[in-house]
């Protein structure tokens, strides 16, 4: 069949020509200069796993400080740095790189391509993102500015001006924060453009848009959304730096500037950003749930339509973070309505996932358990989101621990759960070995229990009037016991994550050998070897339906006969 005398593997695979051992330095060099989408994907994942542990440690320090009223483990200044760094790290150095790591690794494989559209841009974007992260953390050493040592940013991850202006934040900590986000933001934009180009132009024969796996669809939508959301943040950061160093007055209220401009810019970025993070989580769930229910995803066209709808509606809800800044009643009503409307397409997705489970034969593997946790928690997160969209109630709940609980339900209960599901699911593809199921189940149960102890309780603290961002509280407010409970839950989650880290590392050498298709799955990445060769596929695959492997495994009952 093949036109060429040699198959691609014989030409490219180095093991056929070179048998000499590769030194560690050569190996390292290979990783640093790589433009292979799979290696870059792995680099993204390792990078964000590292920062997940760092940000988790920061969260634990925060919880130790808050376990008792008037505790003195951290000073006010150090506490403020830690919660700023925890938030910034989790959003920019954990959430986004994790999801781009998955996108990098999986999208080309799922669409039957040999690499991303722009491999060099891909490497450039990764290293920019990585540099941004290290720049942010270098502030612990270099942000000293005019003040002593160790002056990391302490203005909150939302960094409301004018607190970030030089009169209120002297020194260089805030500059590190702004510059790090600008730099990693450019990296993010590069990757987003790359993913869009890849999905638009690199699909294999037969893969029409409506035959793409939902994972790829969602990553395409996320990338388009990223282009729209990162830009206002970058613009705002530039304006802030102009204020700080070139005598600008955008946000400098002392000279007639406006704090509200910053708040608008930040949330025009910040709210769609939530969807940038959560849509890839949906993407992972949309792969894992059908495979372990042994059924095709229910209502594929509706899932695609709902995702596109979420993208558009999410651009019109940002001011629900601003119900307390004194907007007119009409504006408050408008943003209440637009926010509630997001619930409709989101609801469709939840119903479709449940309908996928319905009538299936559900296998409770670790990735599936994490996705079930996601479904349950995301349902609650959506409902507390409705509560927060009710603007009068938001006047009470805004900036309280209820909000903290709500967005951790989204960011941890939905996104981190799906990230874990994705890691357990695709780890055998990337390494050739399965992660331990026993440890995986320990990880799942401990993490879920810890999660609920922490974040369910936080809702109550918010209703009892505890505001966020406080380094300590008065003992007479009725918050003491609940805070201790929250901290204990945090500790349990910490232990669970350590089990995960151990499993993640040890399985690389000692995990069960996976084979090409350990889960009996249906998308193209499972047709190639584990780990896939540099060139992914020997021959360009050709697909006839959304589940090419189903067709292959069930030639008597192929999907294309049913798909609309």
């Amino acid at each position: 069949m093949s036109y060429y005398p040699l198959s691609v593997s014989q030409v490219i695979d180095p093991s056929t020509s070179a048998s000499e051992r590769v030194t560690f330095l050569e190996k390292l060099h290979g990783w640093v200069v790589t433009v292979d989408h799979k290696r870059l994907g792995i680099l993204y994942i390792l990078y964000s796993t590292f920062f997940l542990l760092v940000a988790g440690a920061e969260a634990l320090m925060i919880r130790i400080q808050l376990a008792y009223p008037h505790n003195h483990v951290l000073s006010a200044q150090v506490f403020n740095r830690f919660f700023t760094m925890h938030g910034t790290t989790m959003v920019f150095l954990v959430g986004m790189p994790f999801l781009f790591g998955f996108a990098n690794y999986i999208v080309p494989l799922q669409i039957g391509a040999r690499d991303m559209a722009f491999p060099r841009l891909n490497a450039f974007s990764f290293w920019l993102t990585a540099f941004g992260g290290f720049l942010l953390y270098y502030s612990f050493l270099g942000g000293a500015g005019l003040y002593g040592v160790g002056n990391a940013p302490d203005v909150g991850w939302f960094a409301y001006a004018p607190l970030t202006e030089r009169s209120f934040s002297p020194g260089h900590a805030t500059d590190y924060w702004a510059l790090a986000l600008i730099v990693s933001g450019f990296g993010t934009l590069g990757t987003a453009i790359n993913i869009i180009a890849t999905v638009i132009s690199m699909r294999c024969k037969g893969m029409t848009l409506m035959r793409m796996p939902l994972f790829t669809w969602l990553l395409l939508i996320v990338s388009m959304l990223t282009l729209v959301t990162i830009t206002p943040l970058t613009a705002a950061q530039f304006m802030l730096l102009i204020d700080r160093y070139l005598g600008g007055h955008f946000f400098d209220t002392q000279a007639g500037g406006s704090s509200l401009i910053w708040i608008h810019f930040f949330w025009i970025f910040g709210h769609p950003e939530v969807y940038v993070l959560v849509l890839p989580a949906f993407a992972i769930a949309s792969e894992v749930i059908p495979v372990f229910s042994r059924k095709a995803i229910f209502g594929y066209p509706a899932m695609v339509a709902a995702s596109v709808a979420i993208m558009f509606v999410s651009l019109s809800v940002w001011a629900h973070h601003m119900f307390t800044v004194g907007m007119t009643s009409v504006s408050n009503a408008f943003f209440t309505l637009s926010t509630m409307l997001v619930g409709v397409p989101t609801g469709i997705k939840i119903f479709n996932w449940i309908a996928t489970l319905w009538g299936g034969r559900i296998r409770f593997t670790t990735p599936m358990l994490f996705c079930i946790g996601f479904l349950f928690q995301f349902l609650i997160a959506g409902l507390t989101g409705i509560m927060l969209s009710v603007s009068p109630w938001d006047w009470q709940l805004h900036n309280s621990y209820f909000v903290i609980a709500h967005f951790h339900y989204v960011l941890v209960g939905a996104i981190v759960f799906c990230i874990f599901a994705g890691i357990y699911y695709w780890y055998p593809k990337a390494t050739g070995r399965l992660m331990s199921e026993t440890l995986g189940k320990w990880h799942f149960w401990l993490f879920t229990i810890g999660f609920h102890i922490t974040f369910d309780t936080m809702h109550c603290l918010g209703l009892l009037g505890m505001p966020r961002s406080i380094y300590t509280y008065q003992p007479d407010r009725g918050w003491n016991f609940l805070n201790l409970v929250v901290s204990v839950g945090g500790l349990i989650q910490g232990i669970a994550v350590l089990i995960f880290a151990y499993n993640f590392i040890v399985s690389y050498w000692h995990g069960e050998v996976a084979g090409d298709d350990p889960w009996d799955a249906w998308t193209l990445e499972w047709t190639t070897s584990s780990p896939p060769p540099v060139y992914n596929f020997e021959d360009e695959p050709e697909v006839h339906s959304r589940r090419p492997l189903w067709d292959l495994k069930h030639p008597d009952d192929p999907d294309w006969e049913y798909e609309s």
């Binding site: 607190l163 209502g299 009503a333 409902l383 507390t384 009037g465 380094y471």
Partner: protein, 345 residues
Amino acid sequence: MQTRHAQRLIRRRSASAWLLLTSPMLIAQGTTPSTLAPASTPAHQIFDLSVFVVAITGGIFLVVGGLLAVALYRFRARKTDPLGEPAQIYGSTQVELAWTVIPVLIVVVLFLTTARIIFAIQDAPKPKTALDVTVVGHQFWWEFRYPKYGVVTANELHIPVSSAGAPTATFLKLTSADVNHSFWIPQLAGKTDLIANHVNTMWMDPQKPGLYLGQCAQFCGSQHAMMLLRVYVDTQEQFGAWIKNQQQPAPQDSAVEAGRTVFERQACMNCHTISGTAATGRFGPDLTHVMSRSTLASGAMDNTPANLRQWIKSPDTFKRGALMPAMQLTDEQLDKVTAYLETLK
């Protein structure tokens, strides 16, 4: 009429479910700043609305969560399953249409209910009898000005109780002298931000005298956590007496003349006002009647002579990062100035 009645019924029923759910929290309440113990019209309206929203979202949770649980149990893989894969179902237009239309209807109901409360609270007309107070946020304390009475005070707001016989709402105008802050007394009303170059308004009409606690709800810098807030709701007579006392210039006691000299000759007077003296600074709290307040440094500590002395000596002891500098006074100066301030009742 009938829908009204049904709505009230739903409310009452869901209110009891809500109470059951939160009863452990209610036990924890004393004078805690809980949103679940409203004591003023806006807070009441918000609470009633929240009960309605919890009833609806709780219903959704039970239905959807229940379906999820049933699916997981009923369709778990079993050893007795026949070989091969289960029947593949790709979708169903009717079913999907149903679960698009029903949520839209729920959104319509929720939105209309919410909009009514938004307009009721936010666009409530200001009655003629209302008391005006201007609130200015500072890093990290509150300034309260009563323009009608010419009174300026800090950190502890006094307002009159509102009764059916003498309805007295308090309307606040809020702004900031520096960074953003947020005024939040959960029992009295939702929070409103204080933003420089921008004036916000909010109102409350507490129906029961007493002390209501809260604190700044917008991160404003290193001592944001110690920007506490106390609102004393006084009876009409108490409030009248309080205002009358606040309107007096500072008492002049010759026994503490030396302390007053320290206050006026050191930098104290650059930032603080004591009416009737040369001290007219406006950067820090007005101290004319500082002894009428029960806490110091925006609630960071109780107002006792020992705390006051230590606060002047070294503000970092209580509130590291507060903008008041340690003035390097000698022990003798400290004693004198503390004795003087103690007379400012």
